[in-house]
Symmetry: C2
């Protein structure tokens, strides 16, 4: 792909992928941009514009071939590859991620989980055993690892991320409430839960007030 | 606040709040927009424009008063209020959220966790006990609840969200891999982990390749 695709388009691709997966699960194998537009609550013209970035995916006759479209978007997203993931931090969130079955379906294989806490080291998490952080270097040398999920304390995350980068890991799924400040060669995806909760707080505080007893009208 | 603030500005406010909290923790009580700009890696003009939406927060002499600025942004975000949160789904993620101490600090009080699984009902999660989903209606009638965190299976989430809305809950923190399709009166914040992981996958697949042996230059 020579053309530079905008970040906004990339941000939307996973949502297309999710909807196309749902359609396939429902046994729907063709869909028009109009129908997809109604389901996803975006304009049909937006969908066509987004898809045109990738050559349009050949809408012919009645709409898109759902399976083909899903696979093509999957390839753009790199989901045709297998990724090996290690989790740094075996707290509640780290363990939740280790047990998250949605990973496997998308080609992400959790192959290690690490912590510094002696109470956690050696404990089972799914099919894995929590390893001592001091074994991290050896593990990364001896096993393929492309992604590190960071569920570490805020103060530790940037330092550990730099160590991992030096070991040759370039993908970071960062759950720590801090920015990692890594060089551009690193791919960083932040999940800042506290910030997400603050946006929710803002939106609740700014819900348009109705007078008591007003009926809420469903949009659908 | 009469003026309608753009979504992009709102999205940035939690990050300002996070940085200002960090500055306070470090004992820094004044900061110029230039310094804040370097720390946050956004332009100083962006910062001034964002803050001008709220009257500018009175930068006087040498920079902003960090404590004042943090509190003002906190008020805009509704963080001066207390929210009661229930968690629907006591799986790994639901339990991780229930134990997340960052909540309390920001004024979010987890007061209930519910599941349908007999193996989970009655078990302790932090200071809470997992309740049977059938007790949800009674609980919501008898206790103040403003936010429901949904860590339910995809197929269940939209239905439960509608029930909760009918019970008078308007805030939804949605972790299920689906859109809730609620009326506009509801405040919905989605955390789609699978989509986040797909964006990471895309970014890894599109890291600019360097020839073997090239040194990676840190930007900082």
């Amino acid at each position: 792909m020579e053309k530079k695709i905008s970040t906004a388009v990339i941000k939307r691709l996973p949502r297309y992928y999710r909807y196309l997966s749902e359609l396939l699960d429902q046994g729907i194998d063709r869909i028009s941009s109009g129908e997809l537009s109604r389901k996803m609550n975006v304009t049909a013209s937006q969908i066509r514009q987004d898809f045109n970035n990738f050559g349009g995916f050949g809408q012919q006759g009645y709409g898109y071939n759902v399976d083909y479209l899903k696979n093509e978007i999957g390839k753009i997203l790199g989901l045709d590859k297998q990724y090996h993931v290690i989790i740094l931090g075996a707290g509640n969130l780290g363990r939740a991620l280790a047990n998250y079955t949605g990973f496997i379906k998308r080609g992400f294989l959790v192959c290690g989980i690490f912590d510094v806490d002696p109470d956690k080291i050696g404990k089972s998490v799914g099919s894995l055993r929590v390893q001592d952080m001091s074994e991290l270097g050896t593990f990364v040398r001896e096993n393929p690892v492309e992604i590190a999920a960071l569920t570490l304390p805020t103060s530790k995350a940037p330092g550990v991320a730099k160590e991992l980068l030096d070991m040759g890991i370039y993908g970071f799924w960062n759950f720590a409430a801090t920015d990692l400040h890594l060089p551009e060669e690193a791919a960083v995806e932040n999940v800042h839960l506290a910030e997400s909760l603050m946006r929710l707080s803002y939106n609740i505080a700014n819900i348009p007030h109705e007078s008591e007893g007003d009926k809420i009208n469903e949009k659908e």
